[in-house]
């Protein structure tokens, strides 16, 4: 518990992470309570005049179909956040299993596994996700899977090296001597000890995942109409940019602020979870 209060202090002492945390909290609350917050149905056409500029009735204006942009953004938060989190979760779980396994077994398995990671690294991760989408077809959940899949090598490499360090620790040797099974050692003893690292890289990667998914949706490969995913909203507003800039500005702004908040939080998290730092030094 003492640890937790130290970590929390380290957070709040920093303006960046405080802003990120608060903004993200607002977005998460907005996403959860979307039906209460959104003044209109996000999918209802003709709730107002077409391409109406922002006003008290329509906080962020309306789009070509007369749908309320604010309501769509509030609901869009559900998509953008959840798809980001799910794709990172998928990537990190698969990456952890892969990374810890090859690190612990070592020898040839490690060599082959590492080379596979190297080969995967040869492709830019965005290209890799494009490739996956091309194979399995378009759709939001396919894109989530593709982005998650493309992030596996990145996670696996970091987790492997962390696991290699832990593997040499005396307590792991003790486990081996006590005759514990490999799986038990890997996931009951190594995994908890590299968990802080996993949390940090997952958070750092979340922003990237949200952007990648939004980019793929912008290209028309992810969210399909009328899903109010922010990237897809940006894409459909493009044609009316000159006459109704609000159809692009607000989704873009929220995408930017969300990703920035996640990144600020991730940065701070890596410092806060670093046990070598004291509370006072947390101001760095």
């Amino acid at each position: 518990m003492k640890n937790f209060s130290i970590i929390l202090k380290r957070f709040l002492l920093n303006k960046g992470s405080a802003f990120g945390g608060i903004f993200l909290l607002i977005i998460i609350i907005g996403a959860i309570f979307a039906p209460l917050i959104a003044p209109y149905n996000w999918n209802e056409v003709d709730t107002g005049p077409r391409l109406a500029p922002p006003s008290w009735d329509f906080l962020f204006g309306t789009d070509i179909h007369g749908r309320d942009v604010f309501s769509r953004i509030v609901y869009g938060a559900r998509y953008s956040l959840s798809v980001g989190v799910i794709s990172v979760l998928f990537g990190i779980i698969a990456g952890s299993i892969f990374g810890i396994t090859i690190a612990y077994i070592g020898g040839r398995v490690d060599i082959i596994g590492s080379r596979i990671i190297d080969v995967m690294f040869g492709f830019p991760s965005f290209l890799l996700s494009l490739l996956v989408v091309a194979i399995i077809g378009v759709g939001l959940w396919n894109v989530v899977f593709a982005v998650g899949l493309a992030s596996i090598p990145h996670f696996a490499r970091i987790i492997r090296s962390a696991a290699l360090q832990v593997k040499e620790q005396p307590y792991i040797e003790a486990c081996v001597n006590m005759g514990f099974g490999k799986i038990r050692i890997m996931f009951n003893h190594i995994l908890p000890n590299i968990f802080p690292i996993i949390i940090v890289i997952a958070t750092m990667d979340l922003g990237g995942a949200i952007i990648s998914i939004a980019s793929l949706s912008f290209l028309g490969l992810g969210a399909q109409p009328p899903e109010p995913e922010w990237g897809a909203m940006l894409s459909s507003g493009r044609e009316y940019m000159r006459y109704a800039p609000w159809t692009m500005i607000y989704p873009g702004l929220f995408l930017f602020l969300t990703v920035m908040s996640v990144n600020l939080l991730g940065d701070r998290l890596s410092i806060a979870l670093d046990a070598r730092q004291s509370v006072d030094k947390g101001k760095v």
Binding site: N43, V138, G139, G220, E239, Y240, R242
Partner: protein, 527 residues
């Protein structure tokens, strides 16, 4: 002295070459098209108006037609129709040659038409436009007789269509069907030069061209030296390129931009209302929820087409009601009485068909949701508007914005509930293409009956109409055909097609081809 003479000669040479450039008045026109995924430039095979946008400038037809559809001699100077309406005898021009030097003659006409009906060719449009074609008889070098199995009332119009352009038989032999589509050879005012996939197609002027149809202002080779079709799918990029002067002519300009150009006068505009099939949706009668005619009717009733069209097009397009647009000959005004906007009626029809409203706003029947899979190739905003309206009465419409390759795949696999189409045609005879049961697509056989509607009575009507003897009979038969299609609610017309073109105001002579879609660039020149 000799040096002076040389200099004098040199100067005269430079001047004369300069004056040559002057008279040629070479123009480089860049044209911005909206679809990057061209597949073939073979008129015999294509049915994509995007591909025809280029084809129309590289090929000529036997009979030529201006944008209003008035006919003029084309590659044929005159033609005779036999009294039974089965034989069309064409006297051909003797001064025409293809871009590859091959002489144009009756044998070329025969080779073109015979290859269209050859199943090996895989013709998508031309084979239907050629109607009940039997054979072409080469009477002499410059006389060809086209013979039909039955009377073919739309024959004259058919011979003006881009799909029935005459292609070079030597190029065809040399390149094969596949290769010809990648490097087409015709007799038109422009020659194919280069094609960078998904980027641009370059054409150059045919320097020997001397057979422009008489409705054109110019004669001889075109004043446009180079014609580049840049393929810019994104509308705002296309308009920005036009405004920056990077391109000279852009098609499918959004209505809001057209309105701005019209009021500012910075760019010239021209709008074409297209005859043929309106922008419409086929409802798949062989799979999914649209197998039930009442569900189809309910879907029709859920849409406020008039409001939708004015909302999306700001007055640049009109709502459509029938299987052919109101500007097409033999249009039946009775179409307009069908399926007015009536959400309550739609709900009642669905209730009656057993689809009860679920708690999530989507109707259900026996645990199955009223879901419609709608791959959308054309006009995503219109698809979303349709989705929005249908949603109000309890349809769950899944729109997927697709590219052509994906759509083709779904068509072969019968994996869709509805699909949109639009078709440029000058004749109601076009109806045989999307409604005859022989045109239901099968794996490997790309056809356009996407409703997959097979009905012997309709087939018979379509065939009879094709060979109708008098205009009254023809009108009556097409009336029955339109009525049949409307009764069955298999084809949901949304709005008339419009082609909105904006161009550099220094240019003139920008004209539509017949049907008001494709642009003929031959006459374009500096003011």
């Amino acid at each position: 002295m000799r040096i002076l003479l040389k200099i004098a000669l040199g100067i005269t040479f430079i001047f004369s070459s300069l004056s040559f450039i002057n008279t040629a008045n070479a123009l480089d026109i860049v044209f911005a098209e909206d679809r990057p995924d061209l597949r073939t430039l073979d008129p015999r095979i294509t049915q994509s108006r995007h591909e025809e946008m280029l084809i129309v400038n590289m090929f000529d037809q036997l009979i030529s037609a201006d944008s209003e559809g008035n006919i003029y001699p084309g590659l044929a100077t005159s033609w005779d129709v036999s009294s039974d309406g089965l034989e069309y005898t064409f006297s051909l021009r003797d001064d025409v040659s293809f871009h590859d030097g091959t002489k144009f003659n009756a044998a070329a006409v025969k080779a073109t038409f015979d290859s269209i009906v050859d199943p090996e060719t895989g013709s998508q449009g031309a084979v239907d436009i050629l109607g009940p074609y039997k054979e072409t008889i080469v009477i002499d070098d410059f006389t060809a007789k086209v013979v039909f199995e039955r009377r073919y009332g739309s024959a004259i119009t058919a011979f003006t269509e881009t799909e029935l352009s005459i292609v070079s038989p030597t190029a065809l032999d040399k390149l094969g069907n596949e290769g010809f589509g990648m490097a087409p050879v015709g007799t038109g005012p422009f020659m194919f030069k280069n094609w960078e996939a998904n980027k641009k197609v370059e054409l150059v002027r045919n320097p020997d061209y001397n057979w422009a149809p008489e409705y054109m202002d110019g004669s001889g080779p075109s004043q446009v030296a180079n014609l580049t079709y840049r393929l810019i799918k994104d509308t705002s990029t296309r308009v920005a390129a036009l405004e920056a002067g990077e391109v000279d002519i852009a098609e499918l300009v959004p209505p809001l931009d057209m309105r701005r150009f019209d009021s500012s006068g910075d760019l010239s505009t021209v709008t074409g209302t297209v005859s043929g099939l309106p922008y419409s949706a086929f409802l798949n009668t062989t799979t999914g929820v649209f197998q039930d005619v009442n569900v189809r009717k309910a879907f029709f009733h859920s849409l406020d087409r008039i409001k939708m069209t004015s909302d999306l097009f700001f007055g640049y397009a009109e709502a459509a009601f029938g299987p052919i647009s109101s500007s097409t000959p033999s249009y039946w005004s009775g179409n307009e009485d069908y399926y007015p906007y009536n959400p309550e009626g739609a709900a009642a029809l669905l209730d009656e068909a057993g689809w009860k409203m679920g708690s999530d706003g989507v109707r259900e029947k026996n645990g199955e949701k009223l879901t419609v899979f709608f791959p959308c190739l054309l006009e995503p905003d219109t698809c979303v508007a349709i989705q929005g309206y249908a949603n109000k009465v309890g349809f769950d419409v899944n729109v997927e914005v697709v590219m052509k390759a994906r759509q083709d795949e779904l068509i072969f696999a019968n994996g869709y509930d509805m699909l949109v189409i639009r078709w440029v045609s000058l004749d109601p005879g076009v109806l045989i293409i999307p409604f005859h049961s022989r045109n239901i697509p099968q794996p490997g056989k790309f056809k356009f009956n996407w409703a997959r509607y097979a009905n012997a009575e309709l087939d018979q009507l379509l065939e009879d109409a094709e060979s109708a003897e008098t205009q009254e009979v023809k009108d009556d038969l097409y009336m029955q055909i339109q009525k049949h299609i409307m009764d069955q609610a298999i084809f949901l017309a949304i709005h008339d097609q419009v082609q909105t073109v904006a161009y550099n105001p220094d240019l003139e002579g920008v004209r539509f081809a017949n049907g008001n879609w494709q642009m003929r660039m031959y006459d374009v020149r500096k003011k």
